[in-house]
């Protein structure tokens, strides 16, 4: 469909290299990089080293890695990078719940310092005072942001923080002699799926509270769900719908009265920084994803980090070590006899921690509040404009405002045209946009989640809106164009039929060759 003159849409085409799989580039004998030889004296003293190996442990055949000269390796991965759209390139508002915002370059520069990258975790404490200071101060920032009393930075993601909260819940009840009896964790259907999944890993039975017609979790259902088997409540607020649950303090009170602990999944807290806190809502624990709200890059899916905080009553259960400060020296404290132990080797994803520290230092208290308010303003601007697109809707609580994101639906458009969210997402790619079809729960039909954060200008938001409008219109006028999309992205419609078939799926190149034979050159 022709792009109208007044549209902001670009005549976009993504880089498409038709790049080989790396193994196809192999040419026997080529070398990508050379390793230094050991000094002659070393060789004289110990020989080639291989003879010292137990014969039954020597690798007979070398690994069948490809053999490629350096420039071609570089070119290969550069081409693959061009076949990827990071937030630095696109208007990355289509990945709701994930807070894809600007990741300041200065923070990358700082994290590239050898004073960060070349630190070993077991160095003498006197040589890592700077690293420990950053961890300690970040803990203090989060205490203020949440109102809770102590944070650990060991968790490697939001889901990992949920696992850690679950471990703390279990420890807490065990210490009170109720570990066996309290075997249920309550969550809500619009909390992140990991609130249920990571809790189940620790053996808990999951009780899921569903929503009422207005989208809010049903407080009457919660009242019925709690009992002396309740270990805790894990809940997101605002939930994945972007709706803030105004009765949240009642929720935590009900669970506390039943003897449970309350964990606040604040993986995404971008809309409420400096507006409202975990402490006042009655939570015992909360966590923040540094790679979401606190501006560190997502790296195609990590490295990530979550700061997990607790009230003073639960500090003794936190994973070891904690970073302490006595006014002159920072140190690692392993002396927590009731600790759950560890959830990750060493202390946490330090480069991520460092970048989040720099991000907060750049904004301060007022800046954090500005982030939240602008993110919410941007979201409500999009809400108004998206719901005005014929075929799009925002289920639940229509007409009211949302916090930082909205789970929308293309159901009306689907009923009218047969075009699915997935097909729309594929067509959006033709204009350099990403649109995400959302994870569990699959309650909102033909769902899509949009979260604009504070990072994109009004002009960019308008451009993204033009994309949604254009594709929705195309679904009516030129459905084939949408169905066969993408046309100007990296690849064409993928044959997904093999992905669920054990006889045909191929998670590695070697299994592809075994199952499908060597492809023609």
């Amino acid at each position: 469909m022709k792009i109208p003159k007044d549209s902001r849409l670009r005549n976009f085409h993504q880089a498409k290299w038709d790049e080989e799989v790396i193994f196809e580039l192999s040419n026997k004998g080529e070398r990508g990089i050379l390793v230094p030889e050991a000094e002659p004296e070393i060789q004289a003293v110990v020989g080639d080293g291989m003879t010292s190996l137990p014969p039954n442990m020597v690798r007979a055949a070398p690994p069948a890695l490809p053999e490629i000269a350096q420039m071609r390796v570089l070119k290969h991965f550069l081409r693959l990078s061009q076949e990827n759209l990071g937030a630095d390139l696109n208007i990355d508002v289509g990945q709701g719940t994930c807070t894809v915002k600007y990741n300041p370059k200065i923070n990358e520069v700082l994290a590239s310092s050898k004073k960060a990258s070349a630190l070993h975790p077991c160095q003498d404490e006197s040589t890592v005072q700077g690293a420990l200071q950053i961890m300690y101060e970040l803990d203090c920032f989060f205490r203020e942001i949440s109102g809770l009393d102590r944070f650990t930075l060991q968790c490697s993601s939001g889901s990992h923080a949920i696992l850690t909260m679950t471990s703390i819940v279990r420890k807490h009840h065990e210490m009170r002699g109720e570990g066996g009896r309290r075997d249920e964790i309550i969550t809500t259907i619009f909390s992140h799926p990991s609130d249920a999944a990571a809790a189940a890993v620790k053996g808990y039975k999951i009780v899921t509270i569903y929503h009422q017609p207005d989208g809010l979790p049903d407080i009457e259902a919660l009242k019925k769900a709690v009992s002396n088997r309740t270990a805790g409540l894990f809940i997101t607020n605002p939930e994945d719908t972007g709706i803030y649950n105004p009765r949240i303090a009642e929720f935590t009170r009900i669970v506390h009265q039943a003897g449970g602990l309350c964990g606040y999944d604040q993986a995404n807290a971008n809309g409420i920084l400096g507006i409202t806190r975990a402490r006042e809502a009655g939570f015992d624990m909360c966590f923040f994803n540094l790679h979401k709200t606190f501006g560190t890059p997502h790296g195609c899916g990590g490295p990530a980090s979550a700061a997990l905080g607790v009230t003073s009553e639960l500090v003794e259960y936190l994973p070891v070590p904690l970073v302490e400060y006595d006014g002159t020296r920072y140190s690692l404290n392993y002396d927590l006899p009731k600790s759950i132990g560890k959830v990750r080797s060493f202390y946490g994803a330090f480069p991520v921690i460092l970048k989040a520290y720099a991000w907060i230092m750049s904004l301060g208290g007022r800046g954090l509040k500005e982030v939240a308010q602008v993110a919410v303003l941007n979201n409500n601007y999009l809400l108004k404009k998206i719901t005005a697109i014929k075929g799009a809707a925002s289920p639940f609580k229509t007409g009211k405002h949302r916090i930082e994101q909205v789970r929308y639906s293309w159901e009306d458009l689907y009923k009218e045209t047969g075009i699915t969210t997935h097909q729309i997402a594929c067509r959006m790619a033709d204009f350099g946009f990403h649109l995400w079809s959302s994870h569990h729960p699959f309650i909102v039909p033909q769902p899509f989640s949009v979260e604009p954060t504070e990072s994109y200008s009004k002009a960019e938001l308008d451009e993204y809106l033009d994309g949604l409008r254009h594709v929705a219109e195309e679904a009516r006028k030129e459905p084939e164009t949408v169905k066969n999309a993408p046309h100007r992205s990296v690849v064409h419609t993928i044959d997904e039929s093999t992905f669920d078939n054990p006889k045909k799926w191929a998670v590695t190149w070697r299994t592809y060759l075994k199952k499908h034979g060597r492809p023609p050159k």
């Binding site: 890695l65 630095d88 975790p121 890592v128 700077g130 400096g274 060493f346 009004k458 044959d495």
Partner: protein, 470 residues
């Protein structure tokens, strides 16, 4: 900061008051506060967050953070013999070049169309790892070795439907603590003893513990204490005869020269990719891998993303996507396998670049180089009076030195070495009762002969000096 002065921040384009006004009008409210109508008054913050004064200019921010970082002394400034789960290896320039690419660095969860690049790069990561491990399936990276070992063990528990796992007692206490927490209360962890002279797993102890309730035996090779476990096949055979699985943790950088676990009976291999093209970052740049055979009963137990290769509607074009997605918690919530989410993908991409550069010969050369260096260091160090190699077994890059006969504690020795510009080996005194006054030394390609000779000279000097605090 003047509260009345408008706050325009470079990271927030719509902080410009005129733009904000226009958007508020569009939305139909007077003030951004009105958008928070669902948040009850009593839950609202009545004051500004008390955080340090912001460093609004990039220059001030840079100065501030650099001033803090300057308090650190890195392993590039001194010589380091520290390992134990995180080690200094050379990071080729291409690894940094690719992992700093904005397209990879700032991407997240795009579709296999506009984000085809990350799908292919991570598929290639899986494929390259599969070659060095000689296994057919490898996951998109999880957090670290501890998580990879924990999940491997939980997978074994689900596959065999048995409640107990036997674990070699020479594991790093750090990693063992991660495993214990992750498995409790679903799987019981029971330790298997080792031979005091060699560190090798005690097969008699293993036999006596292999009961019908045992899901798996987990050991590491090379072990945390450096020695090479030579009985891998015996352990696997004993486990299999009992209907249990053999799960082996491995340092992948050793696999240019050492036999991979799949070749001595392992059903699941796991480990960490930090050494493959990733910097140490204070132990913060870890990434865990899990590898198995391509059997449905294994594949369907992975919680992680598994990216697969496929064809597309266009002739000859490769496409990528999620294999067996219904396993995951994204799809099945608590009915999925464990849980999945953001982990360490970018480190997987660095590792893919690393393995592509190294090739079969590079991995072999590097393995040999490390063997030579570590042997030279061990030999020279053990020549020092009072210093002994604790285990008589063969080792790869790490070995345990026993300082018991020197009359000095490891802490004391390490303080003295630090004064010579050397980070001595990791103190094991508090980790293993039998290894009081022992230290784990790690020797990689990053140290030169003269570094090792300097270490030997410094140690001699420090041991000559009297005292001792034991």
């Amino acid at each position: 900061m003047n509260p009345k002065k408008s706050f325009i921040h470079p990271y927030i384009p719509n902080s410009v008051p005129e733009v904000k006004e226009m958007m508020l009008r569009e939305v139909g409210v007077k003030d951004a506060d009105e958008l928070y109508e669902d948040i009850p008054e009593e839950l609202r913050m009545k004051r500004e967050l008390r955080l340090p004064r912001p460093l609004l200019s990039e220059l001030e921010l840079k100065r501030h953070v650099e001033r803090i970082l300057a308090k650190n002394t890195s392993c590039e400034e001194l010589v380091s013999f520290l390992g134990g789960g995180c080690a200094q290896h050379y990071v080729p320039a291409l690894c940094d070049e690719i992992s700093h690419r904005a397209e990879f660095l700032t991407a997240y969860a795009g579709e296999p169309y506009e984000d085809a690049g990350r799908f292919q790069a991570l598929f290639e990561y899986e494929s390259l790892m599969a070659e060095i491990l000689d296994f057919d399936v490898v996951n998109v990276p999880t957090y670290d070795w501890g998580q990879a070992a924990s999940t491997s063990i939980r997978m074994a528990g689900r596959i065999t439907k048995r409640p107990k796992v036997l674990v070699a007692d020479t594991l790093s206490p750090d990693r063992l603590a991660v495993i214990r927490n992750y498995c409790q209360p679903v799987l019981e962890i029971e330790l298997v003893g080792h031979e005091p002279e060699t560190g090798l797993l005690r097969l008699d102890d293993l036999r006596s513990r292999l009961m019908p309730d045992v899901a798996a035996v987990y050991f590491e090779n090379p072990s945390y204490l450096g020695f090479i476990e030579t009985q891998g096949q015996d352990i696997a055979d004993l486990a299999h005869a009992n209907g249990s699985l053999s799960v082996v943790g491995v340092d992948p950088i050793s696999l240019g020269v050492l036999k991979p676990p799949s070749q001595y009976g392992a059903d699941i291999a796991c480990g960490d990719i930090q050494g493959l093209g990733n910097h140490m970052y204070f132990g913060g740049a870890l990434g865990g891998f899990i590898a198995t055979r391509d059997e449905e009963k294994f594949v369907m137990e992975y919680p992680s993303r598994l990216f697969g290769i496929a064809r597309t509607a266009a002739q000859g074009e490769w496409g990528f996507g999620d294999v067996a997605y219904s396993r995951t918690s994204f799809d099945g919530r608590e009915k999925g396998k464990e849980f999945v989410g953001t982990a360490a993908a970018l480190y997987g991409i660095s590792a893919a670049v690393y393995l592509s550069l190294m090739g079969p010969q590079g991995m072999r050369d590097l393995g040999r180089h490390i063997l030579q260096k570590s042997r030279y260091a061990a030999k020279r160090l053990a020549e020092i009076s009072g210093v002994e190699l604790r285990f008589e077994s063969s080792f790869f890059k790490e070995f345990v030195l026993d300082f018991s006969k020197t009359g000095k504690s490891v802490a004391e020795i390490n303080r003295s070495l630090l004064a010579h510009g050397i980070f001595g080996g990791k103190d094991l005194t508090r980790e293993f009762a039998e290894l009081r006054n022992c230290a784990l030394y790690c020797v990689t390609e990053m140290v030169t002969q003269s570094d090792i000779d300097r270490l030997v000279a410094a140690l001699k000097e420090c041991l000559k000096a009297g005292g001792g605090e034991r």
